[in-house]
């Protein structure tokens, strides 16, 4: 597994969380599962750093939390995107695309 794992560059964790929540409210475990699935297991969120990131995003007002009931009837803390969070996601996605495109261009011409 270590060989398959990609270390997340600084700041991408936030982007992944925001992107995942754009699909709908989700709890922490669900977010980590979803990221893992959608990246075909290439990205694995360090579970220890997921929660501090969630709390930080909540403080910034990009996501908000409420207690809800999970699919198996357990009390779970669900996060959802706020309007500010959606804007943030848009601008970060945009920045990310430009970055990767630029990096790809450099790598391509090298």
């Amino acid at each position: 597994m270590p060989d398959k794992r990609i270390d997340l560059p600084q700041g991408t964790l936030d982007l992944l969380i925001l992107r995942t929540l754009a699909l709908g409210p989700q709890h922490g475990w669900g977010i980590s599962e979803r990221v893992q699935q959608t990246s075909s297991n290439a990205l694995q969120i360090q579970q220890g750093s997921l929660y501090p990131a969630l709390h930080r995003l909540e403080r910034r007002g990009w996501i908000k939390a409420r207690w809800g009931t999970s699919e198996n009837n357990r009390k779970a803390k669900y996060y959802e995107l706020t309007r500010a969070g959606r804007r943030q996601l848009d601008s970060e996605t945009d920045a990310w695309k430009r970055l990767t495109a630029a990096v790809a261009q450099v790598l391509g011409t090298a």
């Binding site: 709890h27 922490g28 475990w29 360090q46 579970q47 220890g48 750093s49 929660y51 501090p52 990131a53 969630l54 709390h55 930080r56 909540e58 403080r59 910034r60 007002g61 999970s70 357990r74 009390k75 779970a76 803390k77």
Partner: protein, 882 residues
């Protein structure tokens, strides 16, 4: 941003709930993950192991979450505060010393700031008061004088630099028709006076333009305090009447409570009423007690206004040479007029008190360093287990802040007492109506000061605590917990600073003491012992005629002489050191006539025969007045020695003649024959030169306002009630003004110097004590640290003298360095107070030397006590401690 703060605050205040939420959230995650692993076929122990690997330490994650929620700084703060309070409780000696020092420093500063704010900074109760300019006339010979009313009218008409201009004439009234007749002060003002200031009557109406002209009905506006004290704040006061000088005045309104004028003001009357009763002031040559006030027109600067008014005054001088020769217009912002006398005192005191605070900070920093050395290991340990330097520095600063907050509270309490004391020392006429209270701005200042002090004295220990190497400190083990060279050096520097600042304060106090001594050694030309002075003003209509006044004064003098204990009773105008002065041009018979502005202009005293005797003014030639010098006799006068010297040289003035005013062909000259020459007096205060003086007998020209002088064999203050009874028996409606002993008047005349000396002396003594304690502390500590070394030296044969010398040298170096710096600083700083000094140079070598010596001796004494302890070190004990 706001939402962020709100979020943090909620996390903080709902900390328990937030913690429980965090637990729930993380537990949910772990359960789900565990179930996932179990479902994938792992055994329970394998699943748990996997979970730990993926998740990391639970507590660490929680800590990071708390960090992410942004409540950590506040939590740390609370923790540090609790820790700090615990530490302060644990070392009561240190806490008490530091608190006392800070309370003194902050208290003294807050008290002086209250004075500074009340006197110099508090906004005046007029809108845009910076554009209010006080105008008066000035001549090269006398300096500032009142403006004559016709000159003012011309100024107002021609002065384009002002959007409006008003006159205010100082008036005294006898308020009768009340239980006890009393004397009150008022102003006769132009109709636009209040409008110009931007003040509206609280009740009733302002004066109108028609009331500026003579012949108008007698009306008054009451000051708020008079309305409260005499009408009980009755809202229906408008329309009621008031008996002033025996005349009935109708109240037309009440001034607002915040109204304040340059002179004490109980009532305002329109200028027209005053001109009706004093028609003489309609003449240009008559300069009573009038000031003009103007509001600068928009866009006009003070310099432009000065230039314009110089032109106006010059035109008047050309048009009216007889009355206006050499008269100029003087323009000053109203704030300067209000505070001109007291400003240097307040600024010097504020500078001095800043030094006191700096010394207090240095002392407390020293205490901190001393304690810090004991805590070096604690800090090292904390750094070793992961505390950052910033975190430790923050903790030290919080401890400082805790101390200064507590010290600030204690300081405020001290300031409350000190403000009352200082306000009591300041004479009311210097305050010019300024109120000195410990109010909002002063409290804010104290808070700012506490915070600033925490930074000032907290920064050194904080820097020091974080600079050391944790490893090195821990390696030393518990053995010495030595402060190391760094702390000692810092402490030395602080002590040097304390000594130097203490010297500056002591030199300041010394200079003031010397000035005061010199002032009191000045020959005032009068004997003040056992002389009581009391002003009496005859203003009612029954005294309009001179015989009635003369009758009153004669009966009063007779009554006073029969009082037991009275040695002499006299009357006079223009008594030295009072505010009553009157000057007039004189023409000496036979002199070459000078220009209208260059006539001799002596102070005029109208006196009873015993005047010179009661005040101990020596008779230098001729005779004094007698009861025979009355209205039927030849007009006679006495002159002062200075006038005799200046105008008669070596010749004998007795028998020569002078007249008041300039020679005129219109009326027959009233020549006054000089019968005596008396000594000069210090009319305008001990520090001011004596002036030309002439004396005329009151029986030939009985004035309405005179000062009673009673010289007694007993304490003159005990005579007050007897004197009041005598006056009441002559006229029961006659109010008395203040009674003061001449000694008191002399003291009041130097109150600025006196208060500066008292406060500087207190500060200097405080600084001396703090500096001595500082030296003592450093040397004691050094001796304790070096007791091992000293023990070895003694064991090797060092003599008592050697050890003593060694320790004293260390202290001597610090004291010497401090004294040197202090001397340099004194040399520069005491110049600031040169305007308060009298016949002492700001760099007076005697004072500098004396204070340096005194501080040096105290400093060496402070070293000597610990040095003696060093001598008594038992070498065996010292070595065994190893």
């Amino acid at each position: 941003m706001l939402a962020d703060l709100f979020f943090r605050a909620r996390s903080l205040f709902r900390r328990k709930a937030a913690e429980a939420d965090l637990d729930d959230e993380l537990r949910f995650h772990r359960e789900r993950q565990l179930r996932k692993h179990l479902a994938a076929g792992l055994t329970e122990s394998e699943a748990l192991r996997r979970l730990r690997m993926e998740f990391g330490g639970l507590d660490q994650v929680k800590e990071e979450c708390r960090d992410a929620r942004g409540v950590r700084p506040v939590e740390i703060l609370l923790q540090d505060v609790r820790h700090g309070l615990r530490l302060l409780r644990k070392s009561p000696g240190f806490t008490a010393a530091a608190l006392l020092t800070l309370a003194l420093g902050i208290g003294a500063n807050t008290a002086i700031f209250s004075v500074l704010y009340g006197v110099l900074l508090r906004p005046l109760p007029y809108p845009d008061s910076a554009r209010l300019i006080v105008l008066n006339e000035t001549t090269p010979k006398v300096g500032g004088v009142s403006v004559s009313y016709p000159d003012f009218l011309d100024w107002r008409e021609q002065g384009r630099a002002f959007s409006s201009m008003a006159a205010a004439h100082n008036v005294g009234f006898n308020l009768s028709g009340v239980d006890r007749p009393e004397s009150i002060s008022g102003q006769a003002v132009s109709a636009n006076f209040l409008a110009l200031l931007g003040v509206q009557p609280l009740l009733g109406r302002d004066f109108n333009v028609s009331e500026e002209r003579a012949g108008t009905a007698a009306v008054v506006l009451l000051s708020y305090p008079l309305w409260q004290s005499h009408f009980g704040g009755n809202p229906n006061v408008v329309g009621r009447t008031l008996a002033l000088d025996g005349r009935s005045f109708t109240v037309v309104g009440v001034l607002p409570p915040e109204f304040r004028w340059i002179e004490k003001t109980d009532v305002l009357e329109p200028m027209g009423v005053w001109l009706t009763n004093n028609p003489a002031y309609g003449e240009r040559g008559e300069r009573g007690d009038t000031l003009a006030i103007g509001r600068l027109a928009p866009g006009v600067t003070l310099a432009q206004a000065r230039a314009e008014m110089a032109g106006v005054a010059a035109r008047l001088e050309r048009t009216y040479p007889a009355t206006n020769d050499q008269f100029r217009a003087e323009l000053r912002p109203i704030r300067d007029v209000l505070v001109s006398e007291i400003r240097p005192t307040v600024l010097v005191l504020f500078a001095a008190v800043t030094f006191v605070l700096l010394i207090a900070c240095a002392s407390v920093a020293n205490l901190f360093l001393m304690r810090g050395s004991g805590r070096a290991r604690e800090m090292a340990l904390r750094m070793a287990i992961g505390a950052t330097r910033g975190r430790i520095a923050a903790q030290m600063l919080i401890e400082s802040l805790l101390l200064t907050s507590l010290g600030g509270v204690a300081g405020l309490a001290l300031a409350v007492a000190a403000v009352r004391g200082i306000a009591g020392l300041l004479p009311a006429n210097m305050l010019a109506g300024a109120s000195i209270d410990l109010d909002g701005p002063a409290v804010l200042f104290a808070i700012a000061l506490a915070a600033l002090s925490a930074l000032v004295f907290g920064i050194v220990p904080a820097m020091h605590a974080t600079r050391g190497s944790a490893q090195a400190e821990l390696k030393k083990g518990g053995r010495s917990a030595s402060a190391g060279a760094g702390a000692s050096r810092w402490r030395g520097v602080l002590v040097i600073l304390e000594v130097s600042m203490a010297l500056v304060l002591m030199v300041g106090a010394g200079l003031m003491a010397k000035s005061l001594y010199r002032l009191f050694s000045v020959d005032a030309g009068i004997q003040t012992e056992h002389v009581l002075a009391m002003e009496v003003n005859l203003r009612t209509a029954q005294y309009d005629q001179s015989p009635a006044r003369l009758n009153f004064w004669n009966r009063v003098l007779g009554g006073l002489r029969s009082l037991p204990g009275v040695q002499a009773a006299a009357l006079g105008t223009g008594v030295p050191l009072t505010n009553d002065h009157s000057r007039a041009d004189i023409t000496i018979e036979g002199m070459t006539l000078p220009g209208p502005g260059d006539f001799p202009h002596p102070d005029v005293h109208i006196v009873s025969p015993e005047y010179a005797g009661a005040l101990g003014i020596p008779l230098l030639g001729g005779r004094t007045f007698t009861d025979m010098d009355n209205e039927h006799a030849l007009p006679v006068g006495m002159i002062s020695a200075r006038l005799a010297r200046q105008f008669f040289g070596a010749g004998d003035p007795v028998g020569r003649r002078f007249l008041f005013g300039h020679p005129s062909s219109k009326r027959a000259p009233r020549w006054i024959t000089i019968v005596g020459v008396v000594g000069d007096t210090k009319l305008y205060g001990l520090a001011n030169p004596s002036r030309l003086e002439v004396y005329v007998p009151f029986r030939q020209e009985a004035p309405g306002s005179m000062t009673l002088l009673v010289k007694s064999a007993i304490d003159p203050a005990t005579l007050t009630s007897g004197i009041r009874a005598v006056i009441a028996s002559v006229d029961k409606d006659q109010p008395l003004l203040s009674a003061a002993t001449m000694t008191q008047l002399v003291r009041d005349s130097v109150s600025a110097q006196r208060i500066t000396m008292i406060v500087l002396g207190t500060f200097g003594a405080l600084a001396l004590v703090l500096a001595a304690i500082g030296i003592y502390g450093v040397i004691s500590y050094a001796v304790a640290q070096r007791s091992h070394e000293i023990g070895i030296r003694i064991a090797l044969g060092a003599q008592t003298g050697d050890v003593l010398l060694m320790v004293m040298t260390q202290g001597g170096k610090m004291a010497g360095a401090g004294l040197l710096i202090g001397l340099g600083a004194s040399f520069w700083l005491t110049r600031l107070m040169s305007s308060l000094l009298f016949s002492v140079s700001a760099a007076d070598p005697g004072t500098l030397a004396a204070m340096t010596f005194l501080l040096g001796v105290i400093a060496m004494l402070a070293c000597y006590i610990p040095a003696r302890r060093a001598v008594r070190v038992d070498p065996v004990n010292a070595l065994r401690c190893e």
